[in-house]
Structures are given as C-alpha cells and as structure tokens.
Amino acid sequence: MFAFLVRRFGQAVIVMLVISVLSFSIQDQLGDPLRELLGQSVSEEIRNQLREEMGLNDPFLVQYWRFLKNAVQGDLGVSYFFKRPALDVILDKLPATIDLVIAATFWILLFSIPVGIFAAIKPRHWFSKVAMGVSILGISAPVFLTAIFLIYLFAVELGWFPSYGRGETVAILGKWKTSLLTLDGLKHILLPSISLASVILPLFVRMIRSEMMETLETEYVKFAWAKGLPKRRIWIVHAFKNTLLPVITVGGVQLGIMVAYTILTETVFQWPGMGFMFLEAIHRVDTPLIVAYLIIVGLIFVVTNTVVDIIYGMVNPMVKIIGQGGSRDS
C-alpha cells in the first residue's frame, strides 16, 4: 500500500513537472515581457541592459529553474492586464467556477442515480425509453448550444431568469464569495449549472444503467432472488451498492473534465469565473495569466486523478495494488 501511494505521488509530481516545462516554454515563446513593461519607446541599449538584469538572456534551464522556484512559492508572475499577481487574479475567479461545478454536480447526483437505477430495473418501461432518448439527445447537443437554448427560452422569451453574471454573493471564509446562499445568486446560477450538467448527466445515466444491468445478471443477485429477498433490498443493497465502484472512479475523472467545459458555459453566460477569464487572457495575450491558469488547472486535474486512483485502489479489493498498469483493465 505504501509503495503504491509513493508511486502515485511520484507520478503526479512528474506530470506536474511536465506541465510546468510546457507552460514555461509557452511563456518563453509568447509575447515579450519587456515590451509589456516598457512600451515601444525605450532605446535598444537600455532594453538589452534590462534583459541582462532580468535574466532573460540566461539559458533555458536556468530560467526554467528560476520559474519553478517561484512557482512552488506561489509566485506565478504578474498579469499584464490586471497589473496584479496572476495567482491572486485566479484565486479571485476560482470561487465562481467552483460554485458552478458544485451546482452542476448537485443536478448530476440528484437525477443520474434514480433515473439510471430505474432504467436498469425496468428497461421496457416508457419512462426508461424516454430517459434513454433524452440522454442521447443530451450527449449529441454541444454544451454551448444547450446554453444558448436555455438563455433564449428562459431569459429572453420567458424572462424568468437572468442571462448573465453571478448576481448577489455572500462572503464565507473571508474573501471566498459564493452565490449559492442568496436567492438572487441561485437564480443566476440555475441556467449555467443546468447547461454544464447537461454534458455529463446523460453519460452518468447511461453508465449507471449499464453497470446496474450487468450487476443484475450476476450469480449473487440471482441467488438473492432465489432466497426470496424483497425487491428493494436486492436492487439497492445487492445490486446498486456494487455498481457504485466504477461509477465513483469514472465520476471522479468526469468532475475534473467539467473544469474544461466551464470555459464554454462561462463564456455563454459571461460567468465571472476562471474559464471566462482564461479566454479573455488568450485574446489579450496576457501570457503570465495564461501560464498561471494552465498550472492551476493542471494541478486540479492531477490532484483529482491521483485522489480517485488512490480511493479506487483502497476501496476495490480486486485491484492488485503492487502490479501497476494492469490494474484498470478487466
């Protein structure tokens, strides 16, 4: 177990190093920090002198080492546009994105489990057929189209919900502001969170359904029927409990994937989160902010994946923890 933890942790560190090298080479390629600092009017001589002083003429590895040392200490450079440390800018935007992810996760858990179980137990029921039909429609509709449709219907035509922004927020834990605790905030988050959930919810419904159907075919479930146990007990305790394992692992990875989709949702709803900020940073060629975003998002991905892997390794008695690589197939 200890060796497994060490190996997973080591791997996470290696991936983060690769991400940092890639991010740093982006910083190296994209834009000239001196031009951002000084403008065009400074002579070539002073420019070269400053270059030397700032270490911009050092070899790549020396510069990278400096970047890495600063990054580990939380210094990811200063945003050209905001004129503030890039990490601070991102941490300001992070709560909005996390609100969105929490709200979307809420919808996913609320609907996917009951619908998925029902569709597995009664595959020929009309509701299961409708649910499967809707789910394939949900998979086929790109998230930005769902978002536009929701805005058009509920914000423009019906006028029930606002179409952009976060609404009223409350501060919890100092600077951390959430819109999940005010009525106005909840009204604002409803449409964005539904459209974000619309990508993953159908996948979850289908996954829970197929895993559950597979479990219902197993010997021990048949034995439970033969024993004459009540239906509910067989469905929930015997079958559903055992479908949870794959659902948790795939689910954990999908939550990381949601971060990517927040870029689309936040853009359509002008939600002031990280994704919207990243796209603006790209259009402004705000290199430090782009790099900081890449590193933070990379960190989120690596941490979720490592945690999911470790939980999977601990929970699933069938995983041979020592033999790596072969642990995921079957």
Binding site: Q11, V15, I26, Q29, L30, G31, I136, L137, I139, S140, A141, P142, V143, F144, L145, I148, Y152, V156, M207, V250, V253, G256, I257, V259, A260, Y261, I263, L264, T267, L279, I282, H283, V285, I290, L294, V297, G298, F301, V302, N305, Q324, G325, G326, R328, D329, S330
Partner: protein
Amino acid sequence: MTGTSLTIKPGVWQRLRHSAVYHSFVQNRVAMVSAAVVLAFVVASILSPVIAPYDPWDQTRIDIMDSEIPPIGSAGADQRFLLGTDAMGRDMLSTLLYGTGISIVIGVFATVLQAALGISIGLIAGYFGGRLDSFLMRIADIQLSFTTLMVAIIILALFQATVGLSFYEDFAIVVIVLVIGIAEWPQYARTVRACVLAEKKKEYVDAARVIGLKPASIIYRHILPNTFSPLIVISTVQVANAIITEASLSFLGLGMPVTKPSLGSMIRNGFEFIFSGSWWITLLPAVVLIVLILSINLLGDWLRDALNPKIYDS
C-alpha cells in the same frame, strides 16, 4: 492490407446480405433513418460546390447590403436566398452546405488519425506487454485525464497567438485535425490493447507463431482483424465527438475562421444577433449540427447492439 481486401471482395455483398448485422439494420427503423440522414449530409456536402447557389468562401461576391435577410416564408424575405443570409450577407444555404462539409471532414480525418495512432500503440502495448505496455498505458491514462477540449483550446489559442491571422485562416483546419487526432488516441489504444490481450491467448495465434510468422505479420494479419467490431463502434462515437469538439472550438473563436466557417463558427457569428431577432443565423446551423451528431450517435448505438462487441474499457 490491400492484398487481403482484394481476395475477399468478390463475395462481399453476398456475405453482407446474409449477415446478422444486415438483418438487424433492416429491422431497425431508427438505424435506417439515421444512416439515411448521415448519408444525405455527406452527399450534400460532397456535392456542395455543385448544388450550392453561391460560393460562400468568395469574399468578392458577398454584398453587405444583403445581410440579415430572413428565410423564405417570413416577412422581408428575398427570393434569391432560400434560407436567408447571415450578418455578412452570405447565403445561408450555401454556407450551411460548405460548413457541414468542413465539420464532417474534420470529424472523419481527426478520427482516422486517432485510429492510426491508437491502433498501432494499442497493438504494440498489447502484444509485447511488460514494461513497455505499462509505460504506454500510463501515458494513455494521463493523456485521457486532460480532456481533448482543454488541450485543443490551449494549443489552438497558442497557435493563433503565435502565427499571423492569414496563416491561421489557411491552416486552421489542419491544426484542428492534428490536435483532435493526437489528443484522443488513448480511446483506440486502450480498446485495441484489451482486445489483443484477449486474442493473444487463443490458439490461432499460437499456431501462427509455431509456423514461424514474424510478430508484425501476426499482429496485422491475424490479431488486428479480430479487433474490428469494437473499433467500428468506437469510430462512430469518435467522429461525433470530434465534430462536437470542433464546433465548441469554433464557437470560442479558436476553430475555423469566419471566412471559412464550420457549423460551430456559424453559430458563433449568429449568437450576437439572436437577441435582435435574427434567429435563423444561429438556429439553422444549430439544427444541422444536432441532427448530424444525433444521427451518428444513434447509428453508433445500433452498431453497439448489433455487433455486440466487448467494449472493454469505457
């Protein structure tokens, strides 16, 4: 490969008509309708230079005075433009035909690239096993954990920022295909590897080895054909996903440029006008996009049931 397909060819239709897949197809109305829809889209986009009334890529023939004309049947329509015009004065029908073509081309080529990379890596990992296998599969895991959309957004944003706009407009399609193609290889690699692991234990592989065939020939001639049914199912899903990814990129302004719009860029262009009442600029490409992807996905669903392959890792 060409050698084997030539020898099978004479009886291929005969065999197909008596196969279980054919019967399941004929009996499944959803599958037939979606196949017809996909085929119609493909044919229409191949023929678009012939059947489109205008050339939407020809900047000189667009008149800005023709902009935002609604489709025929609504007030203010113009007989020249069956489905109206967009904000730049382009004929919607022609732009839709060309745009559908671009979306399909990107979807197909990106999937072909994924398949080529993924199948080779999967075969190698599965056949040779050992350290090479675990190394390749760890890379696949890591690659998969960073979503294609995320990777594509980053790479295209950097590409757009580093090269000039005119260069970008010419090469956007190539870069999109490359990015989506390279980022999704693990989907194929994992499936192929799992198939190879299952097939490798079978006697026909032992037999091939005993008669002295080289590993390369065993892999390609004997194992690979037996992995085809799961690959066909994955491919439909992957084409649909690639089209969605391309549309999402274009919607963010990181995909196909305005001058050569795909369905996603058309939706992006129309999005600004949806609130001022010009609904058709967004709605028409949106409907085409959803119907196209839905048909491909339904076809994939049917294939999954009909071929019933063991999808080893979802």
